[in-house]
Symmetry: C2
Subunit: 219 residues, 2 copies
C-alpha cells in the first residue's frame, strides 16, 4: 500500500493531468469561438478559466505544505518543484485561451478570422490541442518518447505562425488594420500556448531522464 505521502505526490500528478484537460478544452472552444464567432463558447472559455486558476493555487498549497511537513529528499523534492513549474505553465495556457476567447467576443457577431485565414487558424488550434493532449499523456505515463515528439509539433506551429503573418502582410490583404492586429496577437497566443506545452513535456522528460530533451535528440 502507498503511504499518505506518496499518495499526495500522485495526487499532484492527477491534478496536473486535470489541468491539461481543462486547458485543452479551453483551446478547442476558443479556436471554434474565433472561427465561428461563437459568443456562447467564448464566454464559456472565459468563465471556465477560474477552475484552472483554482487548481494552480491548490497545487501551490500542496507543494509548500508537503515541503514543510515531509521534508522530501532529492528526487521527490525535484518532483514537487517541477509540479509547481508545470502548474505555472498550464495556468498561463489557460490565460492564453482566454485571450483568444476575448478576441472572439470583441469581434462578435463578426468572425475575427477572414475566410482566407480560417484553414491556417484551424490548423493552429488543432496542433495546440494535440500538443496539450500529448503533454497530458506524458505527465500521466512519464513516456519520454512521446515527450520528445512535442518539438516537431512546435516546429509545425511556428511554420503556421509565419504563414499567418505572410498572409496578413500580403499586398492582397483587404481587411485593414484592426483585423490584422487581432490576428497577429492571436497568432502569438497560439505560439506561446505551444511553447508552454513543450515546456511542460520537457519538465517530465528531465525528471525521468535527468537530461534535457535537446541532449536526448542530439546526443
Amino acid at each position: 500500500m502507498r503511504d499518505a505521502y506518496h499518495e499526495e505526490l500522485d495526487g499532484l500528478s492527477d491534478r496536473l493531468v486535470e489541468m491539461t484537460r481543462l486547458v485543452r478544452s479551453a483551446m478547442a472552444r476558443a479556436t471554434t469561438a474565433l472561427l465561428d464567432a461563437d459568443l456562447r463558447l467564448a464566454e464559456e472559455v472565459i468563465s471556465a478559466d477560474e477552475q484552472v486558476n483554482k487548481i494552480d493555487n491548490e497545487i501551490e498549497e500542496v507543494v509548500f505544505e508537503l515541503m514543510a511537513r515531509q521534508q522530501p529528499v532529492a528526487g521527490d523534492l525535484r518532483t514537487v518543484v517541477t509540479a509547481l513549474r508545470m502548474s505555472g505553465d498550464l495556468e498561463r495556457m489557460g490565460d492564453l485561451a482566454v485571450h483568444l476567447a476575448k478576441t472572439a467576443r470583441r469581434r462578435h457577431p463578426e468572425s475575427a478570422i477572414p475566410p482566407e485565414l480560417q484553414a491556417t487558424v484551424l490548423e493552429m488550434g488543432q496542433i495546440a490541442e494535440r500538443m496539450i493532449a500529448k503533454a497530458g499523456s506524458v505527465i500521466a505515463s512519464q513516456n519520454v518518447e512521446l515527450g520528445l515528439e512535442l518539438d516537431a509539433d512546435d516546429d509545425a506551429m511556428d511554420r503556421l505562425h509565419r504563414k499567418l503573418f505572410d498572409q496578413l502582410l500580403a499586398p492582397t490583404w483587404k481587411y485593414g488594420v484592426e483585423p490584422a492586429v487581432d490576428i497577429s496577437l492571436a497568432g502569438r497566443y497560439f505560439e506561446r500556448y505551444a511553447d508552454h506545452a513543450v515546456h511542460v513535456a520537457e519538465n517530465v522528460v528531465y525528471l525521468v531522464t535527468g537530461r534535457r530533451p535537446d541532449e536526448l535528440i542530439n546526443p
Copy 2:
C-alpha cells in the same frame, strides 16, 4: 560568521539582482533601438541575452544542488523555490527585450515607431525600466512597501498599452498594416515585461510577509 549554506542563499539573491540589472539594461537599449532605429543597440540586446540565460541556468543548478545536499527546511526551502520562480520571470523579461530588439532590427533603417507614437512608447519603456529597477531593489532590500508600488506602475503601463492601441486603430492611422502589427506586438511585449516585474516583486512580498500583495493592499 555566516556558514557556507547561508552564503549560498545570499549568492542566489545576488545573482537575481544581477539578472534584474541585465534585463533593465536590455529594456533601456531595446526601447532606444526601437525609437531611434539603432541597429547596433538592437544587436547588443540580442547578444547580451545569453548572459541572462546563463545566470538562469546557474540559479537552477544551485537551487537543485542546495536542495539535494542541504535538505533545507520550510522557510529556506520556500526561499530557494521562489528564487527559481523569479529567475524564470527574469529570463522571460530578457526574451521580451530581445523581441523588441528584433523588431527594431527588422525595420531598420526605418524606425518601427512613427512620430505620433514615439512619446507613448518612450513612456512604456521608462515605466518598464522603473519597474525592474524597483523589483531589483525589492529583492536586495526585501522592502515590502516598495514591492507594493509595482501594482500602480503596472496600471500606468496598462493605460499606455490601451492608448497605443487607440492610436493605431484610429481612423487617422496612415502607416498601414505592417507597422500596426509590429506595434501591437511590441505593446504586448512591454505589457508582459511589466507583468513579470510585478510577479518578481510579489514573490518577495509573499516570502517576507507570508501574504499576497492584494491581501496587504485590501486587508
